[in-house]
């Protein structure tokens, strides 16, 4: 899922300075699960903003609403009236949600209330970790289901860097080296030979390096 975290209240006050009526709009999918932008966070952030804006010398009038999905026009429709009657929207959706609302309402200021961080999973209670950079050309089958592009800080495709340790990554002391995990996993499933060939340079065109990515399914466009 998409994992995000909340911007701080001082940051949001800075962003919303000069606004009067703001809709704080939550999203019921990924950001609800990662405790960043669901109904509960809409309520908490709205209360904090009411107090903080008063202290900052401008009292925000805030309306609260959470829709099922901000990245889908069908669900955005359910926020139409609330968006109309407010001066601006503070979206607690991911970056896709914020932009979907902004595209739908070109005359309405839409602000991001979250920092969208990564595609990841809940590792343990209230801890999320990144698992995928959406590079557009998945190589997980070659690495025992552990992604060297996402989980190795240097995106090494041919083995660990010289700073690898059995218990940690060179860059992040509290994280295991992805290459140690790949090695153990491939050894465990009897596929260590996969590591012996030199993997050629990756074609990054399918990733962010190739420019904006669009997927067209012609078979579903009829």
């Amino acid at each position: 899922m998409i994992v995000a975290e909340r911007k701080t209240i001082p940051e949001l006050i800075e962003i919303l300075k000069g606004q009067k009526k703001v809709l704080v709009l939550g999203c019921g999918t990924c950001v609800t699960v990662c405790l960043a932008g669901g109904e509960r966070e809409v309520s908490i952030i709205s209360s904090a903003l009411r107090i903080a804006s008063r202290l900052a010398g401008f009292s925000l009038q805030i309306e609260e609403l959470t829709i099922e999905r901000q990245c889908d026009n069908v669900f955005i429709e359910k926020a139409a009236e609330a968006i109309e009657r407010n001066d601006a929207v503070l979206s607690l959706g991911c970056g896709a949600g914020v932009q979907a609302i902004a595209e739908r309402y070109p005359a309405k200021p839409v602000y991001a209330g979250l920092n969208t961080a990564f595609l990841g999973i809940l590792e343990e209670r209230a801890v999320w970790t990144e698992k995928c950079v959406a590079c557009g050309a998945c190589v997980l089958h070659e690495y025992g289901g552990i992604c060297p592009i996402t989980r190795c800080a240097k995106h090494m495709l041919n083995g660990p860097c010289g700073g690898s340790r059995e218990d940690r990554c060179e860059v992040l002391p509290d994280r295991p080296c992805a290459w140690q995990l790949i090695y153990q996993r491939l050894k465990g499933i009897g596929q260590l030979d996969r590591l012996k060939q030199i993997k050629p340079p990756k074609n990054w065109n399918a990733s962010i390096h190739g420019g904006l990515r669009v997927i067209v399914r012609e078979d579903h466009r009829i």
């Binding site: 800080a153 240097k154 995106h155 090494m156 495709l157 041919n158 083995g159 660990p160 860097c161 010289g162 700073g163 690898s164 340790r165 059995e166 940690r168 060179e170 860059v171 290459w179 140690q180 090695y183 050894k187 260590l192 590591l195 012996k196 030199i198 993997k199 050629p200 340079p201 990756k202 990054w204």
Partner: protein, 300 residues
């Protein structure tokens, strides 16, 4: 392809090789780095020029050219952290044009470990892919995009190995790939624990690696307890045993610690120089090039 660097010839002849390193400074003035040219001239067959190891300094390409002008043969270090394949190959062509004949391929410390920790990175290709790319440039005269290099291109390829990277099977697998990719010499991270180094060298020998490439063991004189502890705590590619730090502590004041650090380094050189399969010593002076003459003596 036969290579024309002095280092390539020494490898070919089977001579015992000593290399050293130059850590460029953040300067645009030659006078700042030329102070160390004297000691670099006297002894090592070639001198590595580091590629922005801990933050931006004079480029390793320019540093290498500065050495050539002084008749010192450079080993041009190239990290994949800051340049994509376009810039890497372009710089390699430029390096060859300027007379550089040896290159050491590394991934480089992650930029978050440098002074420019807010920088973005490239990591378009990894060090093994860089090695293989240069081999292709050498042998086929072809770039990664398939375009041909006009005229001759020749570069002796070097790689780095960390003898202490565990487990040994993964370590050797990685070194084997570097050799298969086209590396002709390997410089290791600094050796302190000579027993573990010997185990690694033995494993490399069993895999036939020492037959195919010249392995040069890195050695590093530690200046003080403070430096040793800082290196131990910040750089995971360095393995500095507790006994080494204890020895430095027991030495006394800073001057005595520096002397002890040099003594430890000399002892390491003496212990390892005769090891079967070892082809030379790479003196990692860590920016303190003045210690070189004293350590050169121990290599003989």
């Amino acid at each position: 392809m036969t290579q024309d660097s002095k280092l390539a010839q020494a490898i070919e002849k089977g001579a015992f090789i000593v290399t050293a390193e130059l850590l460029p400074h953040a300067t645009a003035e030659l006078t700042v780095i030329e102070k160390v040219f004297g000691v670099l001239k006297d002894g090592p067959i070639a001198v590595n020029v580091a590629d922005n190891p801990h933050g931006p300094v004079l480029s390793s390409l320019v540093g290498s050219v500065a050495l050539i002008r002084e008749n010192i043969e450079p080993i041009y270090q190239l990290v994949t952290r800051d340049r994509n394949r376009i810039a890497l190959q372009s710089d390699l062509l430029g390096a060859a044009y300027l007379g550089i004949r040896n290159v050491l391929c590394l991934s480089g410390y992650h930029q978050t470990l440098t002074t420019s920790f807010e920088a973005g990175n490239s990591f378009d290709i990894d060090s093994i892919q860089l090695i293989a790319a240069i081999k292709k440039m050498n042998e086929q005269g072809v770039l990664l995009d398939g375009n041909r290099i006009e005229g001759r291109f020749s570069m002796l390829i070097g790689a780095v190995a960390n003898p202490y990277l565990a487990p040994l099977e993964l370590n050797i697998l990685r070194v084997t790939k570097k050799v298969a990719g086209g590396a002709r010499f390997i410089q290791t991270q600094a050796v302190f624990d000579t027993e573990r180094f010997q185990q690694w060298l033995e494993a490399a020998r069993e895999e036939g690696i020492t037959e195919k490439v010249a392995i040069l063991a890195g050695v590093r004189p530690l200046e003080s307890v403070g430096e040793a502890e800082k290196l131990r705590d910040t750089l995971t590619d360095l393995s500095i045993p507790e006994q080494v730090i204890e020895r430095l502590k027991a030495a006394g004041d800073e001057k005595a610690q520096k002397k002890e650090g040099l003594a430890i380094c000399r002892e390491v050189i003496k212990k390892i120089r005769g090891m079967k399969g070892l082809r030379g010593i790479h003196i990692l002076s860590g920016g303190k090039e003045s210690v070189l003459p004293e350590l050169m003596v121990a290599t003989k």
